[in-house]
């Protein structure tokens, strides 16, 4: 993968997209993982999500006296486990802009290189997707083995799970691209942007509590978020009877939810292309591609 390949791709957009994506994915993985040895990196990747889940487990156990068989528990636990993808993919893609512009100060070189910038940023999100997948798997496995989370591989609706997961990952990547575009236009404290949006979605998407618990005037925010439908589909595919015990989206069949999620993904995907293009244009005009603040 060298200069010859880059030059050969110059006139072929698809090849250039793929080349940028692949190179960025490799680079992202190096940045994420090579600051320490593999064992420490593995422990680091697992401890944080496990601790985050354990906070909810302890809160739940204190109040219910350890009644892990109630349908509320798998609802909270699985929602929290899969929500890690939101932080990993969506915030991860926008974080690439911050790292490359502010920390490594290489964004200007990336812009002058023969790369497709959106595909480069999406590629950078791949490393976080991989570490996120490991975290999700470990958290779910811990729940099944030690906390009676009723995920039975024989009863899981695998096609629904895989399709939902795939659409969800694409949706999160597109939302990440929108955030990356906005990040390009902000100089100070941009790291709060990804965290803030991920935090707000955590609150409004019913990730760890049914939307009925929110005040009535806030619920429409949750219904407008694709993540709400995505998490519901993931729960239905893994623990169908438990997920259907909650009234939030009980009126929708899984097919309908999938159609809503797919529709919203197309909507966000289209919006992300235009928003990123516009932000990218403005960032170039305002001289923000190489702006560093030392914050």
């Amino acid at each position: 993968m060298a200069a010859s390949e880059t030059i050969a791709n110059a006139g072929r957009p698809v090849a250039r997209f793929w080349h940028s994506f692949r190179t960025a994915a490799w680079l992202g993985w190096q940045i994420e993982s090579n600051w320490t040895d593999l064992l420490v990196f593995a422990i680091y990747s697992i401890i944080k999500p496990l601790a985050s889940s354990a906070i909810l487990v302890v809160m739940y156990a204190i109040i219910t006296g350890g009644n892990f068989e109630s349908p509320v528990f798998p609802y909270i636990y699985l929602g929290n486990a899969f929500y890690q993808y939101v932080g990993a993919i969506m915030a991860g893609i926008s974080w690439a802009v911050i790292e490359d512009r502010e920390h490594y100060r290489t964004l200007k070189y990336i812009y002058v290189a023969p790369l497709n910038i959106p595909s480069y940023l999406l590629g950078r999100g791949i490393a976080r997707f991989l570490t996120g997948t490991i975290s999700v798997a470990v958290v779910v496995l811990t729940g099944v083995l030690f906390l009676k989370v009723p995920v039975d591989p024989a009863l899981v609706n695998w096609p629904l799970f895989l399709v939902s997961l795939l659409i969800g990952v694409i949706m999160l990547a597109m939302m990440g691209l929108i955030l990356a575009g906005i990040t390009l236009l902000i100089a100070n404290h941009v790291w709060f942007l990804g965290e803030g949006v991920a935090g707000a979605l955590y609150l409004f998407s019913g990730a760890i509590f049914p939307l009925e618990v929110l005040p009535a005037w806030l619920r429409p925010v949750g219904f407008a978020m694709p993540i709400t439908y995505w998490l519901e589909l993931i729960r239905r595919s893994l623990v169908g009877q438990v997920a259907e015990a909650f009234p939030t989206l009980a009126g929708f069949s899984s097919g309908e939810l999938l159609a809503i999620l797919a529709g919203m993904t197309v909507l966000f995907g289209t919006a992300s292309i235009f928003i990123f293009r516009r932000c990218d244009h403005l960032a170039r005009e305002r001289g923000m591609i190489d702006m560093t603040t030392n914050y």
Binding site: Y44, A51, I76
Partner: protein, 286 residues
């Protein structure tokens, strides 16, 4: 008399040394922490909004599972205290690493003042600025979620809070010296020390819920006992959920405060020498 001193005298500038220089350094380093942070309005907004989002999420979880009202108050208090932990992690412990990255650390070492005074200034400034934010989170959280406080002793409450802060920022100063040796990994270690500490210190639930030895082990982090004592002092059901008695927790916090401040002074000297010897002061491995 050196040339520099003659210039100072001729211009009527008094050159401070000893205790005066120490205090001057503390104030000088505290100044940007207090003033600078208030000037950056977006920072103030995010420092309050992000913990409020986390607080709201945990409050709604407690409501979804039918927890008693005091637990909502525990979450609000925990959310406010996260501001201090984040300040200690990112603006104390890893501060010398950031200074190294931006090229200031070498200047700190070269200047004729104490590194301990610089850290103390950072701690005082950070503590003051963060207290304002924690106060806003507490007020907003209490207002949004209708939290009832029943304070049994204002004197003990003030003592616990101050001792917790001294011990916590002493710990931050100690960590800062350890971070002096770190490079790229500093960011990751600070990042790692968030959720596990929220869990171990019982930011969102009473620490008594843990096994005795786990709770005792977690008490090395001053916020664990500090929050436990404060919950006992401000919530009606607090005393029944306390890990140890408030006087005992005050005693332990006093011990931790002394331990961490002395430890910080010793470690700072040791690490500074080690970092200079190993050439880590100006090293920048991104």
């Amino acid at each position: 008399m050196a040339v520099g001193e003659r210039v100072f005298m001729a211009r009527g500038i008094r050159k401070n040394t000893g205790a005066r220089l120490f205090i001057q350094t503390v104030l000088a380093r505290a100044y940007p922490r207090v003033i600078g942070q208030q000037r950056e309005k977006s920072w103030v907004f995010f420092d309050i909004a992000l913990p409020m989002i986390a607080v709201s999420s945990y409050v709604f979880v407690y409501r979804a599972i039918g927890a008693p009202d005091d637990y909502v108050g525990f979450v609000v208090m925990g959310g406010a205290m996260t501001a201090f932990w984040l300040n200690v992690l990112w603006s104390m412990s890893s501060q010398l690493y950031w200074e190294k990255e931006t090229g200031n650390l070498g200047l700190y070492i070269m200047a004729p003042n104490s590194l301990m005074a610089i850290l103390l200034g950072m701690a005082l400034g950070g503590m003051l600025a963060t207290t304002m934010r924690a106060l806003v989170i507490t007020v907003l959280g209490s207002w949004f979620f209708d939290v009832n406080f029943v304070v049994t002793s204002y004197f003990q409450l003030f003592a616990v809070f101050m001792l917790t802060m001294v011990a916590l920022y002493g710990m931050g100063m100690m960590f800062a010296s350890l971070f002096l040796l770190l490079s790229r990994e500093a960011w990751h270690w600070s990042n790692l020390a968030q959720e596990p500490v929220y869990l171990a210190s019982g930011f969102y639930f009473p620490i008594k819920s843990f096994n005795f030895w786990i709770a005792a082990g977690a008490s090395i982090i001053p916020l664990t006992l500090g929050m436990d004592a404060m919950r006992q002092l401000v919530f009606e059901t607090g005393p029944t959920l306390g890990f140890a008695s408030v006087p005992l927790e005050i005693g332990v916090l006093t011990g931790l405060a002394v331990l961490f401040l002395v430890g910080a002074r010793w470690l700072l000297r040791y690490m500074e020498r080690l970092a200079i010897r190993e050439g880590r002061i100006t090293e920048s491995r991104r």
